[in-house]
């Protein structure tokens, strides 16, 4: 029997991945779809396909000719007039765009930054450690990655709250409050443009924005619009997803105290735990592609111009690939999760995300190991792009400020 002989199921489903229902039931929805219709078609947002099986998501990520990343792919469509490079491009030019940023994101550069991340975490925890309570997401997991990416771009990191508000509006309000999202986008464009003007006036520095401005593709510098898009993408990737992963994991460590105990007793398991949290509590639920020609994919007829969501979070819970997929198992063997995607668009910030996550988790467990949730956990209402905690009130036994930062204050006085 060939695949053509197998009758494909009716792909129509009623599903909006930006809805509150999706946020609360995403993994049930994935499991249901996997059982009856792993290549599903939703009528929401003008229609789009969803892939939930690991192999399908993986295959689509590898086939850039059929599953293109051209900018018209987003569900819903985004209003920006120019592509965000590199994510809105396909090979071979994709590779040239990535090369501009790659040295800033290598495994070695992430490792070299670990002491800086730890210093930042120490400083942030010092601000609330004596109080015995905090919003751990608002006061640690949000500012740490945000300040890092602003510092790397050469922007004023003391303005991280403004940048975060714009980025959160861009990501989390775009489906239900496009005006707020657009205001966020406008602020980001304006401020990146001002930073570019400053470099043109005062000279380039040793920062990522200068590197993007001086980068070349096909021997030509990037148009200003593409520089802005590149910097915007770095802010999107840097500010939202790592905090999402860390917040998701901090919730799990309350729900499952045995996991917390294990991390405290056996800190060497943290790298494996990192991969398991990435798999089980994937922040970037999915990313879109656009079909380039009429085709049959896993028995379904797709047409040129159709949009497809590659649901990484669903793939990461596929029981055909992961034994007991809904269980968090730090000792899992063969954890080939797709939290950072797969193929030519693998997340450029993955190395930094891992190190920042590990620094934040280990510092929380070192300095406030008995934290409990003291109020309502608030999630971002729209989990369709990034599944993340917005606010997580915690209580813990108060502790002393770190001597390191205390001496820094003394010497500054």
């Amino acid at each position: 029997m060939t695949t053509a002989d197998i009758k494909a199921p009716d792909p129509s489903v009623d599903l909006d991945h930006h809805s509150a229902y999706f946020r609360e039931h995403n993994y049930e929805i994935y499991e249901d779809l996997r059982g009856r219709c792993p290549v599903a078609h939703s009528t929401a947002w003008g229609g789009f396909w969803l892939l939930v099986d690991y192999q399908d998501v993986y295959d689509a990520g590898q086939d850039n000719e059929l599953f293109s990343s051209a900018m018209e792919k987003a569900v819903p469509m985004v209003g920006n007039p120019d592509p965000f490079v590199p994510i809105d491009t396909d090979p071979p030019v994709l590779r040239q765009y990535r090369r501009i940023g790659l040295p800033w994101f290598s495994p070695a550069s992430a490792k070299a930054l670990e002491p800086m991340f730890r210093e930042l975490a120490t400083e942030l925890i010092d601000e609330f450690i004596e109080a015995g309570e905090a919003d751990i997401v608002g006061q640690l997991t949000t500012p740490l990655p945000a300040r890092w990416i602003l510092r790397m771009l050469g922007f004023d990191e003391s303005r991280w709250r403004e940048w975060i508000a714009w980025i959160h509006a861009t990501v989390h309000d775009r489906s239900h409050d496009p005006d707020t999202a657009m205001a966020g986008v406008t602020n980001i464009y304006t401020n990146i443009t001002a930073e570019m003007a400053r470099r043109r006036a005062d000279g380039y520095g040793d920062d990522l924005l200068s590197a993007i401005m001086r980068g070349e593709v096909d021997g030509e510098p990037l148009r200003d619009e593409l520089v802005i898009g590149y910097a915007f993408l770095m802010l999107l990737g840097g500010m939202d997803t790592t905090s999402g992963l860390t917040g998701n994991a901090l919730v799990r460590l309350v729900e499952q105290p045995e996991l917390r105990r294990r991390l405290i007793d056996d800190p060497g398991v943290l790298p494996k735990a990192t991969e398991e949290f990435l798999r089980h509590d994937t922040p970037s639920q999915g990313l879109a592609r656009i079909i380039t020609r009429d085709c049959e994919f896993k028995g379904q007829q797709m047409r040129a111009g159709d949009r497809v969501m590659l649901m990484f979070a669903a793939a990461n819970r596929d029981p055909k690939v992961f034994t007991d997929p809904d269980r968090i198992d730090f000792d899992r063997v063969g954890n080939r999760h797709l939290a950072f995607g797969a193929g030519a668009h693998r997340c450029m910030g993955s190395n930094h995300a891992r190190v920042m996550f590990q620094v934040m988790i280990s510092e929380v467990l070192r300095r406030l190991p008995d934290y409990t949730i003291s109020g309502e956990i608030e999630r971002f209402e729209d989990a369709g792009d990034v599944y993340a905690v917005r606010r997580m009130p915690i209580r813990f036994t108060p502790g002393p400020r770190s001597s390191r930062s205390a001496s820094a204050v003394d010497s500054a006085a």
């Binding site: 990535r98 090369r99 790659l102 040295p103 290598s106 495994p107 070695a108 790298p271 991969e275 063997v333 063969g334 954890n335 080939r336 999760h337 797709l338 950072f340 797969a342 193929g343 030519a344 693998r346 993955s350 190395n351 891992r354």
Partner: protein
């Protein structure tokens, strides 16, 4: 035994570097890993197999001769 990273498959996830830093090196601008010389002697087959099993792109190829299995 032979071990190598398929340059056409590797996408620079760097999982292998975290599992066996003595056995792999990273080519920054190529965005991919390579096996260092003498990796098998340095870390042993079990560690290389662990790296192979965690690679999301299935880019690590282990060729194990019969007497080693």
């Amino acid at each position: 035994m032979k071990v190598f990273v398929d340059p056409a498959r590797c996408r620079g996830h760097a999982r292998c570097l975290s599992i066996a830093p003595e056995a792999f090196e990273f080519l920054e601008l190529e965005d991919r890993s390579e096996v260092v010389e003498g990796a098998v002697d340095r870390v042993g087959i079990a560690v290389l197999r662990a790296a192979e099993m965690e690679c999301p792109e299935r880019a690590i190829i282990l060729e194990i001769s019969e007497e080693q299995t």
